[in-house]
């Protein structure tokens, strides 16, 4: 079975637990995050009402997910964008490859959804140069590692190691002072932004009625990516569509305090169609200073399946703030090994639906179902309940650890999980 004494997952867990450098990175991040979030929420008493409102918006949106996705596509087409609905990861990759073609310079801002479909590999295989421009993603890309947090993908890499990575990139010694590390990335990537043929972003929310994409960020890279190259492709999950602009604004206000402990992120870009002008004889021309083409890929890839399950559909409400990860006692010690692209308890559900059962079959047994995630989630998503539900489904498909099977046998035979004989008094 999948629980031999040293299955690959246990090994990965042990490596993480024993890796003091990665633990230090996460510990520093947890301390900074929790302090910032507490301070931000103290200044936002209205958030209590807001997050309840957002929960209602998500409940409505998910109950109409297919319909809203179609409405968003119509709206995007109305403003001369090109919408696509990708059923699965392979279809999404095909769509991207046909738009991008080959021999192109591609810049990307952070998008978990693009990682979900393994986009970079596909674009590179088609002969394109792809640069991640979010600092964390850039570091991970250079180090050829996997992201370990949905908001701060390089949370496990301490500054000293970032310096080593950058020194290698530039072929000269780089100081490990954090501002100068940021400076290195800025210098290096600026040139790529201007020369890129294609910019790829995600979208945190989409308003169905107007076809508007909301892209939330702090670094300013997503602005470059979505604005400088002649072609902008955005990819997002169909669960990100909400009915109206004002619904979307509420989501936008809720995310940043829980994601990074700020009142609002530095930049929220609203993109409704490609750039245009009608300044000469009132004749509309697409492609003014911004992109000439806007392509929007709405991804299903298991989401409709998720929506069919009365319990697991709640995972579709997730805003991806990542707050529950920092607050998860298991994530704090096993970090990026606790999931596959999506992490922690909520990540178990997402990884299972988007990457398959195998991706979580062993890792799910590391969840204590303690429920801290639900407690800190702005939408109070009942993660432990979903994890138990998912676990039940996995067990029915044969994914049961030997230890847990033994416990059942012991209970059935001896009346206790330990297999002790006690019926003698």
């Amino acid at each position: 079975m999948n629980d031999e004494p040293r299955d690959p997952k246990s090994k990965e867990f042990s490596e993480w637990m024993g890796d003091q450098r990665r633990r230090l990175g996460i510990d520093r991040a947890v301390a900074a995050y929790t302090a910032a979030k507490e301070a931000a929420l103290k200044r936002l008493p209205e958030m209590e009402e807001m997050r309840k409102e957002v929960r209602r918006i998500k409940e409505e949106s998910i109950s109409r997910m297919g319909e809203l996705a179609r409405q968003a596509m119509d709206s995007i087409a109305d403003v001369k964008g090109t919408p696509y609905l990708a059923g699965d990861a392979a279809e999404a990759r095909r769509i991207f490859c046909s738009i991008v073609g080959t021999g192109k310079l591609v810049v990307k801002s952070k998008s978990l959804t693009s990682e979900e479909i393994h986009l970079n590999g596909a674009l590179e295989a088609a002969g394109n140069d792809v640069y991640e421009t979010d600092l964390g993603e850039f570091i991970i890309q250079l180090r050829k590692e996997k992201p370990t947090h949905i908001i701060n993908p390089s949370v496990h890499v301490p500054r000293e190691e970032v310096a080593q990575t950058f020194s290698k990139l530039l072929g000269r010694e780089v100081s490990s002072d954090i501002p100068s590390l940021v400076g290195v990335a800025r210098e290096f990537l600026r040139d790529k932004f201007c020369k890129a043929d294609v910019g790829i972003t995600g979208a945190n929310v989409v308003s169905a009625k107007t076809g508007t994409l909301f892209i939330i960020e702090n670094e300013g890279n997503a602005r470059f990516v979505s604005n400088a190259p002649p072609v902008h492709i955005a990819i997002t999950g169909i669960e990100k569509v909400v009915p109206t602009l004002s619904d979307a604004f509420k989501v936008v206000q809720t995310l940043p305090p829980y994601a990074t402990g700020v009142l609002i992120s530095a930049y929220v870009s609203l993109v409704t169609g490609p750039s245009k002008t009608a300044d000469i004889e009132k004749t509309i021309v697409y492609g003014a200073h911004g992109p000439k083409e806007l392509h929007v890929v709405l991804l299903d890839n298991g989401r409709s399946e998720m929506a069919k399950d009365p319990i697991l559909r709640e995972a579709l409400y997730c805003l991806r703030c990542g707050g529950c990860l920092y607050e998860c006692p298991v994530y704090r010690i096993v970090g990026g090994s606790f999931g596959d692209n999506y992490f922690g308890g909520i990540g178990m559900v997402w990884s299972a639906f988007t990457r398959g059962d195998e991706a979580v079959a062993v890792a799910i047994d590391a969840c204590t179902k303690c429920g801290r995630c639900k407690e800190v989630c702005p939408l109070e998503i009942d993660v432990p309940k979903m994890v138990e539900r998912l676990k039940g489904k996995l067990v029915r498909k044969g994914h049961l650890s030997r230890k847990h099977a033994e416990i059942r046998e012991n209970i059935e035979r001896k009346g206790n999980p330990f297999g002790q004989s006690e019926r003698r008094q």
Binding site: M17, I333, A366, E375, L394, H404, R408
Partner: protein, 241 residues
């Protein structure tokens, strides 16, 4: 069997019955001092099925729930008191969903003792120590029992009850629950160190009081603190030793 109506069943739970016996023993001693008329099922108690529910073995858990509910009801018990928050949560909130009705009243030992606190007044001797209460997930966050254990601890003269920075609904998990202790014992104990390390130092307590045999076991495994079950602590105070 009818003679048992109204009698209380003390359900120890597998962990307190077999691995952490001092929890069950001290609870029984305390119940005795309080003059509570109760029974146990001894070696026939069996398992409530919590661990099966937590590890996705729903069908096996369901059979067990039906079996236990029938057995306990047919013995005539209408009230059950348990040391284990896992049994407490499972039997009080999940059995009714599984079998479609609440078979009997289930109380956690902290709730039961709180109800009988008057009988402890004047009997408790001082324990001069700074103590901190660890909220077990199944008792606190899942079942909302936060105040009873604290009120009981405050009854002990001399005990200075302090709080962890993250307590009550935000309490840190000990790491043992959900089948993690059996699947990944090294993760479970490392999670527990996340309590017995910096948070315990910050709280400045020398004793961790908890009210769950799994938390107790796991926090002891992590080391660095004296860990004691709530009734055990009350018994120590009663006996003045």
């Amino acid at each position: 069997m009818m003679a048992m109506v109204g009698k209380i069943l003390y359900w120890k739970g597998c962990m307190s019955r077999l691995k952490m016996k001092s929890i069950a023993d001290s609870t029984e001693a305390l119940l005795g001092l309080l003059g509570v008329d109760y029974d146990t099922l001894g070696g026939e108690e069996g398992c409530c099925g919590s661990v099966l529910l937590r590890t996705g073995q729903y069908d096996a858990a369901r059979s067990l729930a039906i079996l236990n509910a029938d057995r306990i009801s047919s013995l005539g018990y209408s009230e059950l008191v348990t040391s284990c928050p896992g049994c407490f949560k499972t039997m009080s909130s999940e059995y009714p969903m599984i079998i479609g009705r609440a078979p009997f009243r289930v109380m956690h030992i902290s709730q039961f003792l709180y109800g009988r606190r008057a009988a402890m007044e004047g009997c408790l001797h001082p324990i001069r120590a700074r103590v901190v209460y660890h909220d077990p997930c199944h008792l606190g966050r899942h079942m909302g029992v936060y105040d009873e254990p604290r009120a009981l601890i405050r009854m002990v003269p001399g005990a200075d009850l302090v709080e962890f920075k993250y307590n009550r609904s935000k309490a840190l998990c000990c790491g043992a629950g959900g089948g993690v202790r059996s699947a990944f014992p090294e993760i479970a104990v490392e999670v527990a160190r996340g309590i017995t390390g910096a948070p315990l130092r910050e709280a400045g307590a020398s004793i961790i009081i908890t009210s769950c045999p799994f938390c107790n076991y796991n926090l002891k495994e992590a080391g660095g603190a004296e860990v004691i079950d709530l009734p055990e602590f009350l018994l120590r105070s009663w006996r003045g030793s």
